[in-house]
Structure formats: structure tokens, C-alpha cells
């Protein structure tokens, strides 16, 4: 991490579900510290794209490089790809922290346990140290008092913040956010956006699928507009929101406002 | 090498019955001890269900049966036997207040209790079955006796010694011996032998020799006297 190199590089990614081609060749580069907002209509493939990056979905074709290391893939014999090296995938995944739309906190663990789980059991951090880091993170997202609560007893916003703390605890190279606010009420949305804004100011690499255009415009330094499985247009936020070129994007932006 | 000696896990006095200590006692237990000592076998007692005792032997859960099992042709098809080690007549018992004898005519219309898969079952089915009301089969002899006392069967056919023990007990006070059945060696067999798996001739010879030896050196009579005032070895 000496000089800002490429954190994530995606080249010509394709993904099909049965007869349905959801991604039709998407390429993207995220440098260290980039905050990239991914916008697009429902069903345009935003979630699928994000999930392909950490191989929760296996891409049909294309290449994903994380921090200079290309994920090795081999044909799965059915026209798709599969990881050639499980260990590598696990290693790379453990450095890409995903924050899910529905949080997906582990319900059988307290907030603190959720946060220290991956550091201890995947990264091999000593327990004391993991707890210290976790408590610092929980303080930061304002959840320190709730560290021994179970997720089911937290509000949506609190759960979301716990999920962010869990993601930060792995000291990720990049964070992938999938619509972090869509399930929340307006008040909670504000709460979560504050935290993400803070992260953005810290120059963390972030890929952010979002429907909050105002927010995207504020925090991101690059916006990607996906449409029908392809990048219809991309550029700095002011350009995308201020002077959209393509017809589709114009229509999309007008419908948002 | 351990040898697992199987017998029926049920009270079958005076041959084998559990006592309140959880030990098995009786004539056959004494016999088994003497036999194993003589043959220098390391025997462990392994009670099993009577109706599964032959499968238990063939599937090697036990290595021999010392369970008052008569040597019959039918059984010899599946397992092997040592020489006999006792032989007693077969009798029919019934309530004192009913008069009948141990013949097909006498048992006409009666319900006869027998223990399942015994020579008595085979005999009763063949000779009394056609005229009797029902041949009721019990898992254990004890249950058959119990049902006789409870009036649920009219007669029980079994080994004279075993029934004698029952008649002498409190529960057996209701009943008396009605007679000895007519012998049919093809069913009632040639006395009781040690059941063995087929092909284990070495063990069989050891046991045959041991039976001879304890008969000869008086051990057999010594422990038999504790139970019987007659020679149980039979003719």
C-alpha cells in the first residue's frame, strides 16, 4: 500500500443465469482510495456485479484482479468458470469486506462476537488484539454499549452499523456495499450515511451500490451507470449527475428527482 | 480366548434364573462353570433372548448355548450340538380343579401354553394342535406358567424339572402334573446338549471331553445334588 495502486480491477465480466445474461462485459478499475458509486435501474445487474467480485456468484467469463492478484479461474465444464484455487479465493475474500443490504449479521453471536469472528477464525489475529480492535471500531460507529447484544435486539440502523464494523474489522483492501440503506427508514438512512461518509473521507476504497443519488454524488469520486448489464456511462459525479450524455441516463436521473 | 456362553435372559428355575444381586444362579449355571473349568475355557455369561438365541449363535454374538436346549433333528440342520448333558421327561400340567390327562383326547378343547421355539411347541403343535382349542406361544416359560396361574391357559407343556420348580412355588399351588406325554424322540430329541456353531469341531470335542470328565470325576453329581434328588442325566 505504498503508492495508490489498483485495488480492484475487473475486466470484461460476463454473467448469465440460465438463459438470462445479466452482465454483458463490464470492466471497472478502482484505485486505492477510490469511492465508486454504482447506480442503475432495478434488475440492471448491480448486485450481481458486486457479488461477482468476491465470487459469491461465479462469473461466466472475465477476470477479477484484487490488489494485483488475479483470481485464478478454470472452466467448470458447463460453459462457466470456477475458481481454480480455493485457498486463494478465501484469502482474497477475507480482504474484500462486503456489507449486505440485509446486513446478514450472524444471529447466534453478539455484536462483538460478530466483529471478532473473522479476524480470529479466518485471519488468525490473537483474541485480545481482535477484541481491542473491535471495541475501537464499535466505539467509532457508536455501538460500544450494544456490544453484548444479539442482532435481533438491534434496530435496523444499529444492525447496519454493526455490519460495517464487522467489515472494517478485517481491515479490508476494499469494501463492497450493496444498497446499504434501502431497507431502512429515512432516519436510519441518515445514520448509516454518516458512517459511510466518514469512511469516504478516510480514503477507503469503496464500491457502493446505491439508490441514494444525493449521497452518491456527495461521497463518490466516480460514478458508474449500469444498464442492461453494461456500463452505459461513467465519470465523475458532477458530470454524471450534472451533464448526463446518454439518453438512458438522462431518463434515469430525471426519474429519480 | 473368551468364549461367550449364551442362555435365555429369563427366569427358568431351577436351571437359570436371576437373583436379586443381579447374578445368574441355577443348576445350569453351575454346570457351565464346572464345564468351562474342566475344558479350561474362559467363559463369560451372555444372556440373550430365547427366540433369538440361534441367530445370536450363528451371527457370533455368542459362541455356545447352554440353555436347556434339546438336541433335535430340526435344530441340527442349523447348528451343532455336543453330547447331551441332561435329559428329563416332558410333562403337561394343569389346574387342580380340572381333570384331564396328557393325551390328545384329554387336552381336547383346551388352551395349551408352550414356550416358543422349543421342542414342546413342536410337539404340542403336532400332537395336540388338531384337537386343542389353541396352542399359545410364549416368549418365556415363565410367562406361560404365569398365564396358567392366571387362568388364561388351561394347560402348560414343558420340561418336567422346570415345571416341578414352578409347581412347588407359591404361584404354582393352583396346579398339578397331569401326566407325561408319549415320547417322540424325533421331536422331543435326545436330551439337552450344548449348542455350537457348525464346523467348530475342536470346541465340540473339548466340550464333549469335559462333559465326560465331570461326569466321571463326580463334579456333576456334586452340584446336581444341590438341586435334585434324582439323576438328571437321565438314561
Amino acid at each position: 500500500m505504498t503508492e495508490p495502486g489498483l485495488a480492484i480491477q475487473v475486466t470484461d465480466l460476463h454473467k448469465r443465469f440460465g438463459p438470462l445474461e445479466v452482465l454483458k462485459g463490464v470492466s471497472l478499475e478502482a484505485k486505492q482510495g477510490d469511492v465508486i458509486a454504482i447506480i442503475g435501474g432495478s434488475g440492471s445487474g448491480k448486485s450481481t456485479f458486486l457479488r461477482c467480485i468476491n465470487l459469491l456468484e461465479l462469473p461466466t467469463a472475465g477476470r477479477v484482479t484484487v490488489h494485483g492478484e488475479t483470481i485464478e479461474m478454470k472452466p467448470d465444464g458447463q460453459g462457466g468458470l470456477m475458481p481454480a484455487n480455493r485457498k486463494q479465493v478465501q484469502r482474497i475474500r477475507s480482504r474484500l469486506a462486503m456489507v449486505f443490504q440485509s446486513f446478514n449479521l450472524w444471529q447466534h453471536m453478539t455484536v462483538l462476537q460478530n466483529v471478532i469472528e473473522v479476524p480470529i477464525h479466518v485471519l488468525g489475529v490473537p483474541r485480545d488484539q481482535a477484541i481491542a480492535t473491535a471495541e475501537a471500531l464499535l466505539k467509532r460507529v457508536g455501538l460500544f454499549e450494544k456490544r453484548d447484544a444479539y442482532p435481533a435486539f438491534l434496530s435496523g440502523g444499529q444492525q447496519q452499523r454493526a455490519a460495517i464494523a464487522r467489515a472494517l474489522a478485517v481491515q479490508p483492501l476494499a469494501m463492497l456495499f450493496d444498497e446499504p440503506t434501502s431497507a431502512l427508514d429515512p432516519e436510519l438512512v441518515g445514520e448509516v450515511l454518516t458512517v459511510i461518509g466518514d469512511l469516504a473521507r478516510e480514503k477507503r476504497t469503496m464500491l457502493l451500490v446505491t439508490h441514494e443519488m444525493k449521497f452518491a454524488r456527495e461521497v463518490s469520486n466516480h460514478v458508474v451507470f449500469l444498464h442492461n448489464g453494461m456500463i452505459e456511462e461513467q465519470g465523475p459525479p458532477d458530470q454524471i449527475f450534472g451533464a448526463p450524455k446518454s439518453e438512458r441516463l438522462k431518463k434515469f436521473i430525471s426519474s429519480i428527482h | 480366548e473368551q468364549v461367550k456362553v449364551g442362555f435365555a435372559a429369563e427366569p427358568y428355575p431351577p436351571f437359570t434364573s436371576p437373583d436379586a444381586n443381579g447374578n445368574w444362579v441355577g443348576w445350569e449355571v453351575d454346570f457351565q462353570k464346572a464345564l468351562c473349568a474342566e475344558a479350561k475355557l474362559d467363559c463369560v455369561i451372555t444372556p440373550v433372548a430365547w427366540d433369538g438365541i440361534i441367530p445370536a449363535l450363528t451371527s457370533k454374538k455368542i459362541d455356545m448355548i447352554i440353555g436347556s436346549m434339546s438336541i433335535t433333528e430340526e435344530r441340527l440342520k442349523t447348528i451343532d450340538f455336543s453330547d447331551k448333558y441332561y435329559n428329563t421327561p416332558t410333562v403337561v400340567i394343569g389346574p387342580k380343579d380340572q381333570k384331564f390327562d396328557a393325551t390328545p383326547e384329554g387336552l381336547k378343547g383346551k388352551i395349551i401354553g408352550v414356550q416358543v421355539s422349543t421342542i414342546h411347541q413342536a410337539y404340542a403343535t403336532k400332537y395336540f394342535g388338531p384337537t386343542a382349542a389353541e396352542i399359545k406361544e410364549y416368549q418365556t416359560q415363565d410367562e406361560a406358567n404365569q398365564d396358567l396361574a392366571a387362568g388364561r391357559v388351561d394347560a402348560v407343556q414343558a420340561d418336567s424339572v422346570a415345571l416341578d420348580a414352578f409347581l412347588k412355588s407359591e404361584a404354582g399351588a393352583c396346579c398339578e402334573v397331569k401326566g407325561t406325554v408319549v415320547d417322540d424322540p424325533s421331536i422331543l430329541g435326545l436330551g439337552v446338549g450344548v449348542g455350537l456353531r457348525k464346523g467348530e469341531t475342536e470346541l465340540k470335542e473339548k466340550i464333549n471331553a469335559a462333559i465326560k470328565a465331570i461326569r466321571a470325576n463326580g463334579t456333576y453329581d456334586t452340584f446336581s445334588k444341590k438341586y435334585f434328588d434324582f439323576d438328571i442325566y437321565g438314561k
Partner: protein
């Protein structure tokens, strides 16, 4: 928002058919196994026992259905009083269910037959009574034990079913002026049975599987007949395999029958 993207609907993978390659291989192996069983094991005794087996199956089925029907008729009040009270009755029903469900059926069976049965015999009044010809047989005890056991387990099921009928449906019946009796017969009971049917199906299979225990008190059901075969032939596996097959078929039939019954009133999402 953006225009709806009309894309071909994603088709779920085909339901796995019976004739996938691996299944054909498995079935072939199975067929070979069956062939081996038929060919290499001894089945010559089978014809001799045909009628007795049929009789045994009949006895098993009679026991199953009679105990299930009578037991269920008992289960209805047992379940009902636990929902509606009065207190002493509901307490009684609960105790009954707990005791029966907390002890092994085999023990209950032996307790009735050897315990109670031998007590009866001690009283000349009973031995002289007209009941004695029945009391001295084994099946009344087997029937009673199985029936009581079914009643206890199903009482529990029916309690849940009665409590689970939506209150509103009962109120609707009340609001239309149904008498209590009618409400029970026309709405509450059928609705509860309807809800409980899948559970009752499972429980009846369990009851079928409990019937062979009566063979241990000299009732000759299909298990008893097979035991007899085992005694006569000294075969271990063949009769037991046949027995397993018979029960397998009976279970299948039972499940199929219940399915028919269930399908008469379709439920959504089931």
C-alpha cells in the same frame, strides 16, 4: 425509475427425474441386490405361510385401525378439555398425557397384560363373570394399551389443533347463532382435524410401527407370524426382510391414503 426490463424469466432447474443417469445406475445396483436376495437366500418356506401371513397382516390392520379410531375418539375430548377446561378435567387430561407419553409402550403393555391381567385372575368374582372369556385373552390388553397410547399422543395433537383454530372463525359461527354443540360439530372439530391431518398421518404411521409389540403378549399379528417362521426355519434374515418389506408397503399405503384425505381440502402453500 427505469423502464421495466423485460427479460425471459429465469427457469428453475428441472425437477430431478427418476431417470437421471446416476439413478439408473443406483436402480440397477438395487435390482442386482434384490436379485441376490431372492436368488441366494432361502425362500422355500414362503408358500407354507401364505395364508398365515395374510391372516397376520389382517390382524395388524385390524389392531391399527380399531385402536386408532377408538383412540382418536378419546383424544378429541382429551384435547378439548385442555383448551376449554374445566380446570380439574384439563388437569386430569394433562396428567394422563404426560404419564402415557413419558413411559415406554412396551412397559405399559406388559403392565396391563402380566400385571393387571394376573390381578384379575386373583378375584373369583371376575373369573366367574361373563367378561372372563374376554379378559383371559390377550388381544383386549393389546388393544387397550395401543388405544390408550394413541389417545395420549393424539390428545396432545388435538389440543394444539383446537387451540390453533382461528378465534375469528369460531366467533363467526357464534355470530350466526350456532349453538355450542353445533359450533363444535360443524366448525371447531372439522377445522381442527383438518389442521391436524398431516400430523395425524405421521402419528398413524407411528401407531402402525407400534403394533408389533403386541406380539410379545401372544397376539399373533404379522410380526408374530414372522417370529413363528423364524422359530420354525431358524432363518434369521429372510423372514425379517420380508417383514420389513410388508411394513414398508403398509406404511406407503397409509401415507397414500392420508394424502387422498388431505387433498380433499386443499391448503395453500402446503
Amino acid at each position: 425509475m427505469s423502464e421495466p426490463t423485460t427479460l425471459p424469466a429465469y427457469t428453475a432447474p428441472r425437477p430431478r427425474s427418476l431417470f437421471e443417469p446416476h439413478r439408473i445406475v443406483l436402480m440397477a445396483i438395487f435390482a442386482v441386490l434384490v436379485f441376490c436376495v431372492v436368488w441366494f437366500m432361502r425362500w422355500d418356506w414362503l408358500p407354507n405361510y401364505g395364508t398365515r401371513l395374510a391372516y397376520g397382516v389382517g390382524e395388524t390392520l385390524i389392531m391399527l385401525f380399531s385402536t386408532a379410531i377408538v383412540g382418536f375418539m378419546l383424544a378429541v375430548p382429551i384435547g378439548l378439555v385442555q383448551v376449554t377446561g374445566p380446570r380439574p378435567l384439563s388437569w386430569l387430561a394433562l396428567t394422563f398425557c404426560t404419564i402415557i407419553r413419558g413411559t415406554p409402550l412396551l412397559l405399559q403393555l406388559w403392565m396391563l397384560y402380566y400385571g393387571l391381567g394376573s390381578l384379575f385372575a386373583q378375584y373369583p368374582e371376575i373369573r366367574q363373570s361373563f367378561l372372563w372369556p374376554y379378559l383371559r385373552q390377550a388381544w383386549p390388553y393389546g388393544f387397550t394399551a395401543l388405544m390408550i397410547s394413541f389417545a395420549a399422543y393424539e390428545g396432545e395433537v388435538m389440543r394444539g389443533a383446537f387451540a390453533g383454530v382461528p378465534r375469528g372463525e369460531l366467533e363467526a359461527a357464534e355470530a350466526f347463532g350456532m349453538s355450542r354443540f353445533k359450533l363444535f360439530w360443524r366448525i371447531w372439530l372439522p377445522r381442527a382435524i383438518h389442521r391436524a391431518l398431516p400430523t395425524l398421518n405421521g402419528e398413524t404411521v407411528l401407531q402402525l410401527k407400534a403394533t408389533p409389540l403386541i406380539a410379545t403378549i401372544t397376539v399373533v399379528d404379522v410380526y408374530g407370524v414372522i417370529s413363528r417362521v423364524r422359530q420354525d426355519t431358524f432363518l434369521t434374515y429372510e423372514p425379517l426382510l420380508l417383514l420389513a418389506l410388508i411394513y414398508l408397503c403398509l406404511t406407503g399405503l397409509l401415507i397414500w391414503g392420508f394424502r387422498l384425505l388431505e387433498n380433499r381440502i386443499p391448503t395453500r402453500g402446503a
